[in-house]
């Protein structure tokens, strides 16, 4: 273990020193949070004295912070520093009443960059690398977050942002890009552009990709790794917690190390809010430990995951989170059954006849919910007869039924006919509100 090459010595801290550091930082963070109007009110109304937290377990005495608290306190109710200390804001795309603003001091920006640098170093980025950041810049955290981290490492950063697919590929060729940061569904969409341009992504100088901003299944990752010829590493983050870099996958690709010197992570039962047993799935709850401008205590991420407590063979001591199984917000209910889009994706990606792109449509047939899964047939697997299509349709229907407990209608459509997107993919269209409800 002694010779593990890390960006920050904290990555190798033994558990008890790490927990000591967490407690010390937690106490600071609670005190800092109390400087914001919102937490000041929470502490005085609930009668919780910030200095009564004497162990990490005591954090459970604090109430959760919900997304709605951020909305209700928009814009400055959670700000814990004078406005003039703020150097940057990130902002959700939500409309009025739903919007969330997150503020940063210079120290916050610096620590964020360090965390992202740690993540990128972990998967092999060094100053010699050419990093093409294909994530949107601006109010969204994906672009600037990785940009600052990669610059901190001294890499050559190309801030292309998302979109303009041909130019993305030309840049990869001209500047011999070695690493990219990309939304997985855009990485799929780009494959069509590679084909149009007659360029094989495997022939470029690329070494690895960082995939972020949307959950995707392991099957989808395998397809991406195969088509691009490089590993795709998962990055986890949310703008409320800073953005990307909260947790990151090491080359083992077995879960994401959550940076416990910067965040206190809990996994709770989404219904009761009680902690679940180690290894069991629940909602990830995060407390910032170092953030000055906008500390958040016990923030309910609405992301579902579980702890992997076994030590990782990479040598880092920070616990791993299992791959995010989906956002609670992504879940939809059909005929009373809870379904996550990723469950459907897992089934689809296990069948080579099914293309990378798919669409889930929910509507109503009279008073009954109807679930349609639309998939593209891959051109290479087409045998030329209807019997094959019918059998594929049946196999898909059965496999999906088994996974989601609802029998979907499976529509096989021609290759390339489901629209591709340059941003986060829209995989689910729920037409129930527009249809039959009040008619």
């Amino acid at each position: 273990m002694a010779s593990v090459d890390v960006y920050d010595a904290n990555e190798l801290m033994d558990r008890s020193s790490l927990e000591q550091l967490q407690l010390q930082r937690l106490r600071w963070s609670i005190e800092q949070a109390g400087r914001s109007p919102h937490y000041n009110k929470v502490f005085s109304e609930s009668g919780i004295a910030p200095d009564s937290v004497r162990s990490l377990g005591d954090v459970r005495r604090l109430p959760f912070t919900e997304k709605q608290d951020l909305r209700n306190n928009y814009p400055y109710g959670l700000l814990a520093v004078p406005n003039e200390e703020v150097v940057r804001m990130h902002h959700s795309s939500g409309t009025t009443g739903m919007a969330i603003a997150v503020f940063h001091t210079p120290g916050d920006i610096g620590r964020w960059a360090d965390l992202v640098a740690r993540c990128l170093y972990l998967v092999g980025m060094r100053k010699e690398d050419v990093f093409q950041n294909m994530m949107s810049y601006g109010l969204f955290t994906g672009g600037l977050g990785l940009h600052y981290g990669a610059e901190k490492l001294g890499a050559f950063v190309i801030p292309t942002g998302a979109g303009n697919s041909r130019r993305q590929i030309q840049f990869m060729q001209i500047f011999e890009t070695t690493a990219i940061h990309i939304i997985p569904s855009y990485a799929l969409a780009l494959l069509a552009t590679f084909e149009e341009m007659g360029v094989d992504p495997r022939s470029l100088s690329l070494r690895f990709a960082v995939g972020g901003a949307e959950p995707y299944s392991e099957g989808m990752r395998e397809r991406l790794q195969d088509a691009w010829g490089i590993p795709f590493y998962n990055c986890y983050g949310l703008s409320e917690m800073q953005g990307p870099g909260v947790a990151f996958e090491c080359p083992e690709q077995q879960g994401l190390h959550v940076w416990e010197d910067s965040y206190l992570a809990e996994i709770v039962d989404p219904e009761t809010g009680e902690p679940v047993a180690d290894g069991q799935e629940g909602e990830l709850v995060l407390t910032t430990l170092t953030r000055e401008a906008m500390p958040l205590l016990r923030y309910r991420t609405r992301d579902l995951s579980s702890f992997i407590s076994e030590p990782c063979s990479c040598g880092r001591t920070h616990r791993r989170l299992s791959r995010i199984q989906g956002r609670a917000d992504d879940m939809f209910i059909v005929r009373g059954v809870n379904i996550f889009p990723l469950q459907i994706e897992r089934v689809l990606m296990s069948m080579p006849e099914v293309g990378h792109n798919y669409l889930i449509v929910i509507d109503r047939d009279g008073y009954v919910d109807r679930l349609t899964v639309r998939v593209e047939l891959t051109a290479e697997t087409f045998q030329g007869d209807l019997a094959q299509l019918r059998s594929l349709q049946e196999r898909l229907t059965d496999a999906l039924r088994e996974e989601i407990l609802v029998r979907p209608r499976v529509e096989l459509v021609e290759p390339g006919t489901i629209p591709r997107q340059e941003g986060k993919a829209i995989r689910v269209v729920d037409e129930r509100e527009l249809g039959g409800k009040e008619r």
């Binding site: 047939l377 051109a379 087409f382 209807l386 299509l389 096989l412 021609e414 290759p415």
Partner: protein, 142 residues
């Protein structure tokens, strides 16, 4: 042996039109067409004068497959198809799909989809039918 094209196509207005448009642009002549559909899905089978050009014209990202077929020349008169089917059924060969068209006043070409094209051609040749290769087929339908 000749190549027939099978194209996966959704059973929706405009889909066939897109195919015929691509073939018109490529100046490909369609000699026979067969559409099979099941619900929203369909498979369109085409016998054309120049299958390679048609295949390119339909090209990516469409799902197109070349299917080897027997092309057999028959007299265009009552009983001609029967003679062919009798020879094949005696040899235990099942015809999965068939189409045909006249090429002159006295002659027609039958297109047969069978599991083993070479075996069917051998048996038809023994019964003194003339089967066509791609070049002969192209010349015959030109």
């Amino acid at each position: 042996m000749i190549q027939q094209l099978a194209i996966f196509s959704e059973n929706k207005p405009g889909r066939l039109e897109r195919i015929t448009d691509a073939l018109t642009q490529a100046n490909v002549n369609i000699r026979a067409i067969h559409v099979a559909s099941l619900g929203d899905m369909g498979v369109i089978k085409l016998v054309v004068d120049r299958p390679d050009d048609a295949y390119k014209a339909l090209g990516a990202p469409a799902a197109v497959r070349k299917i080897p077929c027997v092309a057999v020349r028959v007299r265009d008169r009552p009983g001609a198809l029967h003679e062919v089917t009798r020879v094949l059924s005696q040899a235990g060969i099942n015809i999965e799909n068939a189409s045909g068209f006249a090429v002159s006043r006295s002659e027609a070409i039958l297109i047969l989809e069978v599991a083993d094209v070479l075996a069917a051609e051998r048996i038809l040749a023994q019964a003194e039918f003339s089967t066509l290769d791609e070049g002969e087929f192209e010349a015959a339908v030109a």
